[in-house]
Symmetry: C2
Subunit: 209 residues, 2 copies
DNA sequence: GCAATACGTTAACAAAGGATAAGAAAAAAT
DNA sequence: ATTTTTTCTTATCCTTTGTTAACGTATTGC
């Protein structure tokens, strides 16, 4: 169990301020429970049949969330540097994860365990802040999920892809296309066709103008 | 602003124990901020362009969540008796709701406002319990959403419908089919075809056995 | 450097879903 | 009770997607 450096802890704490402000005393208690975790490309952070016992903060690298169905991997989400991630449902409910998570690049994380979190929730010096923190994270995720369900119900795969280009262009460079296809709810072959359609209609527009 | 009866308050409190246990003192403070709301069939609880200011508990009746796209309503979710509901993203972030909510039947709710919630979160007698309550609700919703995204990515509309029959049969009796179709991510016409396919394969099985 | 693997595109065919319209059945309104 | 409206089904046609397989190109590992 390697401890994070002061620099790494600062990086983590700076990102957390989006959700909650910890006092220095609180932060020391939290920091003492954090540890580093390195994951090589393609290694698993969580396997889709085990209970997820930790939450990770990505110091560097990128992770992929995926479901396995009939032996096929279906990518579901992607997280990058400075994002907090876990298989939340499994972590929270203590049930086997239906999601697997692996690394798309060699990655380094700061992690804390479920037991650590319970310890902080039970400690009166940190319990209130941690309850609040947990609520903020959960509420943030709800908003993301509402958007995602909205896109599945109201948009075609082509519309979803176009929106991705506009709103999350960094996804395009760092995520293999067949992963992105799953994320959009189609096969890799279909995404390739969608891209072709878009390119063709773009070049027609150029000709016309 | 009509106040709930003692009986109605008991009904509400009993359901809340799934998420949090309030002391009697806390409950009195909360209950004093609750009010009744009646919604006639097809009336709106929230309109999809306004900020949602309240959370409701369904004493009786049923509500429908839907998006509006190009003037078309796309049903997204349904809530029944003893469920807590709101347009959470709008309520939490104070932004216009992208979801509209209306009543499928004449319904009666116990509601509280955003300001009431803030008041309870600021009151040291209730703040801890309310933070915890908020976290529990949010975490519950995350689990629901994870399931829902899972179903969109890994299942066909037909598989989703079959699973609905098994896992939420009460949906079938109380929700019009064209609403259900939206919920499953297809058109009403397509759901009708899916139903036909299923019935046909069921009767073939009967013949064979 | 070379072989093996992974990735993206394309083609051909089958299956499914969307759009539209028409009609039957059920529910609601008068 | 009888209109009127809503809901559900069916048919037709067209578009899109899934499936499978082939091919070229990057990447990776050795």
């Amino acid at each position: 169990m390697q401890s994070p450096t002061a620099l790494q802890l600062r990086q983590f704490r700076a990102q957390l301020t989006k959700f909650v402000e910890f006092s220095d005393e609180q932060w020391d208690l939290i920091a003492s429970l954090l540890y580093l975790k390195s994951i090589k490309k393609k290694e698993l952070f969580v396997s889709g049949d085990k209970v997820c016992n930790e939450v990770g903060f990505i110091l560097q690298g990128s992770l992929r969330f995926f479901f396995v169905k009939d032996g096929i991997e279906l990518s579901n989400y992607f997280c990058f540097q400075n994002e907090l991630m876990s298989s939340y449902r499994s972590f929270l409910k203590r049930t086997p994860s239906i999601i697997s998570i692996d690394a798309m690049e060699d990655s380094q994380l700061i992690c804390f365990t479920y037991d650590s979190l319970q310890q902080l929730l039970a400690d009166e010096r940190t319990s209130f802040a941690m309850e609040h923190f947990g609520r903020m994270i959960a509420e943030y995720l709800i908003c993301c999920y509402e958007e995602r369900v909205f896109s599945f119900l109201t948009q075609t795969p082509e519309e979803r892809y176009k929106r991705l280009i506009d709103e999350q262009p960094h996804f395009l460079n760092r995520i293999p296309q067949h992963y992105l296809a799953n994320y959009l709810g189609v096969t890799a072959v279909s995404l390739s066709r969608i891209r072709k359609r878009i390119h063709e209609s773009r070049s027609k527009q150029k000709l016309a103008s």
